[in-house]
């Protein structure tokens, strides 16, 4: 028994001694000089070759593509008059008349972090090396497009294209990433650029690699002494953040705690509940929106995807009937606890899209008529944002504005009314019959639907899928949720699904051109079910009118006013055909801690994207200001 007492006393003594073991969070770096960002575990932490597939992507997003790489242009997904940013290029691309040649004028005075000057030779070398090495990132895209290159002087590159392509420059235009320029003087000494780990990487950005964990838990980048000799340094002035730390931060609960302990300045994405907890209880927290719904809407559009090659989802009346059975307010509450930005149009309601598309198309949406077979209905509800706001006002009180125009920007411009009677008529028009409370298909078999979701990886979409399946079940359809886990992507691309909650529409956000996703919707790229469909158009939606819009868009310039008109034509066609039911923007909950840094981007000051994995975050890093808090 004496032994037992000894054990108990030792345990208590150990607990009391714990505070003595407390350590600085980062060894050797003052906390108030470091910005700590949530990173991704990297299996291949030694790998810094962003042009080869090594690293599984994680190495690239732990600062490599945000802080050390550069290319010609960036587009701020938040839009605004300054959305287009010249980076390594001194001006926008210059095309010839038939878009078979693109000329790029490069900025002068840019240097790699090892002191070598950046020139047109680096650009030509990059593209040629990628073409010569199939399997390298962007290799295939350049092989398809580039016939030859010239560099008439050290600051000019001319690309001669194999075929007219008015969007060739988008290969060098960053939204999330783009084709980065290689250091010729490093890679030309390497025998196999695919097997080269590029460690340490020579930087073209304002930061260079300082240190990293071989286990892949953290990577630290340090401000270059010659930051002025970078494109971002020239345009944005002296950065205040001296060190940028990308670190893994564990499960969602741990991330919330780490931020409240001021050990994580930027969280990438957490569930709505975590965000609400931080914003309610942490006085130093900040977010994209200062009040509910707090979230940053990414230019990504979660939707109910239909596999249009599988009956009965090849019938637009069925697709429309399923849309009208949805009560979107319940879906918004069930998935995002109401913090959702709804979209009836097939483009995310973010960046410049509200002013380019949503506001101008309200009249068309309000007057849009649907033929149910027995009558015509106007399904659009322009007041859904106010209804949703009323539902969450009880919990969030004064945080919810009352101005209808403001509510539309927060919760969406409108959506479809839940109209069970119209849905019934549409299903009957498609040959469906009702036995008791069960819908039967035209062949007499029960109408069953599998609603595929990825699962825990994207909990908000899994919740949305569950809510929608429940609503369809209540209407008499045997709908079941199918959790696909890591097989989700493959099942979507091979057409092994009926309906799915996912996104096939992503946009520039800061530019109205929809070719970012739309070009791949052309019917020439559609594969039979069972074969792998290229990314986007996982619905395998095929329509000659769609092809016509895409072909016309290919022949006009990126900044042509006609781009918006073609965009509207596409959006109208998508409403009429309903190949997917757009739900809402992908609302990202990315809270910031202002203990050490302030001036984070926000809806009021949208100078940059806020997602840590997006390369645009470099503009945020160099814009932060110290809060004045002393190091711990």
């Amino acid at each position: 028994m004496k032994l037992l007492r000894t054990i108990a006393m030792a345990a208590v003594a150990s607990l009391l001694a714990l505070p003595a073991f407390a350590q600085d969070f980062i060894a050797g770096i003052p906390r108030n000089e470091a910005l700590i960002i949530q990173g991704t575990p990297a299996q291949n932490a030694d790998w810094f070759n962003v042009w080869a597939p090594g690293g599984g992507g994680a190495a690239n997003v732990n600062g490599l593509q945000q802080l050390s790489t550069d290319t010609f242009w960036f587009i701020n997904p938040e839009g605004g008059p300054d959305a287009w940013q010249n980076a390594l290029a001194s001006e926008p691309p210059i095309y010839n008349e038939d878009f078979t040649q693109m000329t790029v004028k490069l900025r002068e005075g840019i240097f790699w972090s090892d002191g070598v000057e950046f020139t047109a030779d680096d650009v030509v070398y990059t593209v040629q090396t990628l073409i010569d090495h199939p399997g390298m990132n962007w290799s295939a895209a350049f092989t398809v497009n580039v016939a030859s290159m010239e560099s008439p002087d050290r600051n000019t590159v001319v690309f001669n294209l194999k075929a007219p392509n008015s969007r060739f420059h988008t290969l060098f235009t960053v939204r999330w990433n783009a084709a980065w320029i290689m250091p010729k003087h490093v890679f030309e000494k390497v025998e196999d650029p695919l097997a080269f780990n590029n460690n340490p990487p020579v930087s073209l950005g304002a930061y260079a690699l300082h240190s990293y964990d071989k286990g892949g838990n953290w990577t630290i980048w340090k401000l270059r002494d010659d930051w002025q000799r970078t494109s971002i340094g020239m345009d944005w002035g002296q950065p205040q953040v001296k060190y940028v730390v990308y670190r893994t931060a564990g499960n969602p609960e741990a991330r919330v705690i780490e931020q409240r302990n001021h050990n994580l300045d930027v969280i990438n994405d957490i569930a709505p509940e975590g965000m609400f907890s931080i914003m309610k209880d942490n006085p130093t927290a900040a977010a994209w929106l200062p009040n509910f719904p707090f979230a940053h809407p990414d230019p990504t559009l979660p939707s109910v995807l239909f596999n249009t090659k599988k009956p009965p989802f090849d019938n637009k009346d069925v697709r429309w009937a399923l849309a009208l059975l949805i009560d979107i307010r319940a879906v918004a509450l069930g998935s995002y606890r109401g913090a959702a930005n709804l979209s009836a149009l097939a483009t995310p309601p973010t960046g410049s899209a509200p002013d380019d598309y949503f506001v101008p198309m309200q009249d068309w949406l309000a007057n849009f008529e649907l033929d149910t077979g027995t009558r015509k209905v106007k399904p659009y509800n322009p007041n859904v944002s106010a209804e949703l706001a009323n539902m969450v006002r009880g919990q969030w009180g004064d945080q919810i504005p009352t101005d209808p125009e403001q509510l539309k920007r927060l919760f969406g411009f409108g959506w479809w009314k839940q109209d069970v009677q119209a849905a019934t008529e549409l299903l009957q028009k498609a040959g469906f019959t009702k036995q008791g409370n069960r819908w039967m298909k035209p062949d007499g078999s029960p109408f069953t639907i599998r609603v595929q979701v990825e699962g825990d990886a994207i909990p908000t979409l899994a919740r949305a899928g569950t809510a929608i399946a429940q609503q369809w079940s209540q209407a008499g359809i045997d709908a079941k949720v199918d959790v696909a886990g890591p097989t989700n992507g493959q099942r979507l691309s091979t057409g092994d699904f009926e309906t799915a909650i996912y996104w096939t529409i992503e946009t520039w956000g800061g530019h109205p051109d929809l070719s970012f996703f739309l070009d791949s919707y052309h019917s020439e790229f559609i594969k039979p079910v069972g074969e792998t469909q290229p990314p986007r158009n996982l619905q395998r939606w095929e329509d000659p009118r769609l092809d016509e819009i895409i072909e016309r868009n290919r022949l006009i310039a990126f900044d042509s006013p006609e781009v918006v008109e073609l965009g509207k034509d596409f959006l109208k066609l998508a409403v009429e055909e309903m190949p997917m039911i757009p739900l809402m923007a992908y609302n990202k909950f990315a809270p910031f801690d202002t203990t050490y840094w302030t001036n984070y981007p926000s809806a009021e000051n949208p100078y940059s994207a806020s997602g840590p994995n997006w390369s645009n975050i470099r503009y945020m890093v160099v814009s932060l200001k110290p809060s004045g808090t002393a190091a711990q």
């Binding site: 032994l3 054990i7 980062i26 575990p41 599984g56 630290i220 741990a254 070009d519 986007r536």
Partner: protein, 336 residues
């Protein structure tokens, strides 16, 4: 003990070991290759998601990666190639960390897992057996009854909940311990006190979770064993003969009860090479369990096979070692 008998016994056990390893690794190979997750598609998805993607370029990329990763060939050809590499200790390149060899990737995680799990397993084993033996011997002690209630109430709590509770208590309510990672940021691995102490501090909560979760099993089994032995004739006789109770406890009771527990310990130690998936996930610990999960999600069957093969060999080796040591410590085991 006749030596020839021992060698026949050894040869049989060795044959059994080889059979177990061969069957286990073959099954692991088949399961990994029948996984519906295609590593090529996972890589294509990573490289094309969020970006501006030309469908013609994606098709070209897919074909290039298939050639690069060497995933062509029939299943049988891949199986033969796999064994020829395994005997050389080479699992090929990791497909999710291409072209880094699987053994290099595993080599980074293995020390963390083995260190954490060995320490936690030994601590749980020692504490569980000690407290279990005391509880079984001093059956009327109120304090030990209380310990029993605590330990048994911990037993059914899922590891995830235990870990999360410790994170909240020691990371938020009383924030004195790190809740994530294996060591302090920006610290170079070395045998310096700064690094070693950092590893210990970071490993405290994961280890405590494993000890709390593992304690109950050892406690309950040891208490049952001791409760049976204390009623055996030789213990009753010793008590009647006036032998000191400490001697009876340590020499007559606990020692006899230890044999199955030692077997259990050896088997459990064999499992440390497989990683503690849940604990490593909860505490973001850079071990084999986390590696295995990443490998499964990425469809990286080279990596999954590497981790499972090492785990299979470790467990089979532990069983083999127990088998050959048993006749030496327990004469009741017959040879030949």
């Amino acid at each position: 003990m006749r030596m020839s008998g021992f060698f026949i016994y050894l040869a049989k056990r060795l044959g059994q070991f080889v059979f177990v390893v061969f069957t286990g690794v073959t099954l692991a190979f088949l399961i990994a290759h029948f996984s519906p997750v295609d590593p090529i598609e996972q890589t294509v998805s990573l490289l094309t998601s969020f970006g501006n993607t030309d469908p013609r370029a994606v098709e070209m990329l897919r074909q290039s990666l298939r050639e690069l990763y060497g995933t062509d060939g029939t299943l049988f050809e891949q199986y033969l190639a796999f064994w020829s590499r395994v005997v050389r200790g080479d699992f090929g390149p990791s497909l999710s960390a291409f072209p880094t060899p699987v053994m290099t990737v595993i080599g980074r995680s293995l020390p963390w897992t083995v260190g954490l799990l060995t320490l936690a397993t030994l601590l749980a084993w020692i504490l569980g057996n000690l407290l279990g033996a005391l509880a079984g011997y001093f059956r009327n002690s109120r304090l030990l009854k209380l310990v029993g209630v605590f330990v048994m109430s911990m037993q059914p709590i899922p590891t995830y909940i235990t870990g999360l509770t410790l994170i909240i208590v020691f990371g938020y309510v009383w924030p004195v311990l790190p809740i994530s990672g294996g060591a302090q940021l920006n610290l170079e691995p070395s045998f310096s006190w700064a690094y070693v102490s950092s590893v210990i501090v970071h490993g405290t909560l994961p280890a405590l979770t494993l000890v709390l979760v593992g304690l109950g099993g050892w406690f309950i089994s040891m208490r049952s064993l001791v409760s049976n032995i204390v009623t055996d004739d030789h213990v009753v006789y010793a008590e009647l003969a006036g032998v000191r109770s400490r001697t009876i406890f340590s020499q007559y009771v606990a020692r006899n009860a230890m044999l199955p527990q030692v077997t259990g310990l050896a088997l459990t130690l064999g499992h440390v090479f497989g990683g503690a998936v849940i604990v490593e996930f909860v505490f973001n610990y850079p071990g084999m369990g986390r590696l295995l999960i990443v490998g499964i999600y990425a469809g990286d069957y080279s990596l999954v096979l590497g981790v499972t093969t090492i785990a299979i060999i470790a467990v089979a080796t532990a069983v083999f070692v127990i088998d050959i040591l048993y006749p030496l410590v327990d004469p009741r085991v017959k040879l030949g």
